[in-house]
């Protein structure tokens, strides 16, 4: 059997809709099937990344209609990197959530498996498709499944968080649709490579209007200020593994959409400055909001928004070094923030009212989990020798090369805020007096393995960053090289049909 990019979409979708039937055979199946599918996704990623290294890209034509007319899937070093990251995170999150609850509620498990696999399909679809309307459809799949997962638990305020997400999401999808319509009237095509080729024909004012509509639309998934009102509520009300999936999967797809549209489709000078300003505002507001949170998951959510602001700043600087740093940051954010959400939600299960002040003494009660949480906290604020240090260093050097002194000052100042609120939690866990005795919810062994894997990655990448910088450099080259993307799509004599 030849592995092609379409497997990314077909296999999880098929499995998602097969779960209601398979559950009749054995009630353990809805737990195991997602894991098998995620593992297959990793195999696809490995095979396709080898082909990308060999040929430069992999593209697939769907239903025999060639690129400008039909929908095509294309995997470049950039999208391949993100897709591999998402596949890997999907598998680790499955490992974490397998037997997350001891009690089996088959109906709940079934719908959780379906929604989660569809969310991952949608996120991968956004990244590998070459057609702008197809991208919109996948974005809507991600939004609807993310809303459903947010409101998954009946006893929490999930429905409220979900409704808030839905209002913002529904509004943004209308704007994206309007942007696609305006773009179609101007260039007469939906294929992203062809749009990019014909973009110079569009008048400047029209171009700016369309770009603003797109940025608002995708800014919501990418947690850009002021469109991120949904994020803290959704993160804090969603089940623990879903919060990790938001940080590791959904946000990555949203940022991809933003970057693909700004870098490949449009060539407006001001767009990059806009990214820097939007990122800066997002980062500063989010980090200061994180400082005054008492709920741990809300604090992590605001910190996640702040990190995405930093990613936007790095993309906005726009040089090759900066884009490379932004990709490194995205990788780190996926790994570290997922680890923080995973260990954080276990800590939350064991605290009385989910606030930071009830975490005292956790360092003794749950030594392994507390250790991993501290590791994640040290890594995300950028202490050496963890992986977060390198990405922050690369962002700062990229900014220094462009002589953006104010920007460097802002990033460093915000880092101090970050250190304050993360260290407050860590010191509470280790150095505060133990206040109350409550029944301890012990995490399962596979959850520990999943968190151990992420912790090991943080350490290994921190000590040997060269392991992934090669891939990241290729990806950064690809983002900035618009001409070869167009060439891949339109003149492809595809190595894999």
């Amino acid at each position: 059997m030849v592995i092609t990019p379409i497997h990314y979409i077909v296999v999880p979708l098929l499995a998602a809709f097969a779960i209601p039937l398979l559950v009749k055979i054995h009630k353990e199946l809805p737990r195991i099937i997602p894991g098998l599918v995620m593992f297959y996704n990793i195999i696809i990623s490995i095979v396709l990344m080898q082909q990308v290294n060999e040929f430069g890209y992999v593209s697939e034509v769907i239903a025999g209609w060639k690129a400008p007319w039909g929908i095509n899937l294309i995997i470049t070093p950039f999208s391949g990197f993100l897709v591999s990251l998402i596949s890997f995170m999907g598998f680790v999150i499955w490992l974490y959530q397998y037997r997350f609850k001891k009690v089996i509620d088959v109906g709940e498990l079934k719908s959780y498996g379906i929604l989660q696999m569809m969310m991952i399909t949608g996120a991968i679809g956004i990244i590998i498709t070459g057609d702008i309307f197809n991208m919109f459809v996948f974005l809507e799949i991600v939004a609807i499944t993310a809303i459903s997962l947010t409101s998954f638990y009946r006893h929490r305020d999930g429905a409220e968080a979900g409704f808030k997400y839905l209002l913002i999401g529904g509004f943004s999808s209308t704007l994206i649709l309007l942007a696609i319509l305006l773009l179609y009237t101007q260039v007469g095509t939906l294929n992203m490579a062809e749009i990019s080729e014909r973009m110079h024909l569009v008048p400047q004012g029209m171009k700016a209007t369309i770009l603003v509509l797109f940025i608002i639309g995708f800014g919501i998934e990418a947690e850009m200020f002021p469109l991120n009102g949904w994020a803290p509520d959704a993160y804090s009300q969603a089940p623990g593994p879903t919060s990790a999936a938001f940080a590791g999967i959904v946000v990555k797809a949203g940022v991809y959409g933003l970057i693909r549209i700004i870098f490949t489709l449009f060539d407006i000078e001001g767009a990059f400055d806009f990214l820097i300003i939007a990122g800066l505002v997002t980062m500063i507001i989010a980090e200061f909001s994180a400082l005054k949170q008492t709920n741990l998951k809300r604090m992590l959510a605001y910190s996640s928004i702040g990190q995405m602001g930093l990613v936007m700043i790095a993309f906005g600087i726009g040089t090759k070094a900066a884009v490379f740093a932004a990709l490194f940051l995205m990788f780190n954010h996926a790994v570290i923030k997922s680890l923080l959400f995973m260990s954080g939600s276990i800590l939350m299960y064991n605290s009385k009212d989910k606030t930071i002040s009830t975490l005292s003494g956790m360092g003794k009660k749950l030594p392994f989990i507390s250790l991993l949480f501290s590791l994640g906290a040290f890594a995300i604020v950028g202490l050496p020798p963890f992986s977060g240090f390198w990405s922050k260093l690369y962002v700062l050097t990229a900014a220094a090369n462009q002589e953006m002194i104010l920007l460097i000052g802002a990033i460093l100042a915000v880092s101090i805020v970050e250190i304050v609120y993360y260290f407050r939690v860590v010191s509470k866990m280790y150095f505060a007096e133990e206040t109350e005795h409550i029944a301890i919810f012990k995490p399962s062994i596979n959850a520990k393995i999943a968190m151990g894997i992420l912790g090991a990655i943080i350490l290994i990448i921190g000590l040997y960053p060269d392991l992934i910088t090669g891939y990241l450099h290729n990806a950064a080259d690809m983002i900035l090289d618009k001409a070869s993307y167009i060439d891949f799509v339109l003149n492809s004599n595809a190595p894999v049909q």
Partner: protein, 131 residues
Amino acid sequence: MQQEFHEIFVKYHEIITLGVYGTAIGLMLIGLYAVLMKKNLVKIVIGLSIMDAGLHLLFIGIGYVQGGTAPIFSPGYEDAGDRMVDPVPQALVLTAIVIGFAVTAVALSLIIRLYKHHHTAKIDQIKSLKW
């Protein structure tokens, strides 16, 4: 009868086009008003749907070609290549309608759950989370 209709259409073409665009944009504004100003959750969702409907109408209106035929080569229409109605916006609208349906369904089910939990559908009385 058909001939008459066609003549009327050609005569008032510009007004009709303007009417379609105006209706579409008007619907979108009505929907936006409902989303922003109404306090009832159900009315907000109705507003979202109206906004979508306006956008769909705009799609169809833009794809229309005056005096156009269906985009199929059939006997008697061999030379219709340059006066066919653009089929792409119609295909997009079909997809968008399905997506809108799904969003509305999710929204209504969330409203049911919110109503069971809070015993009200007023948005300003539901504030367990900070809005």
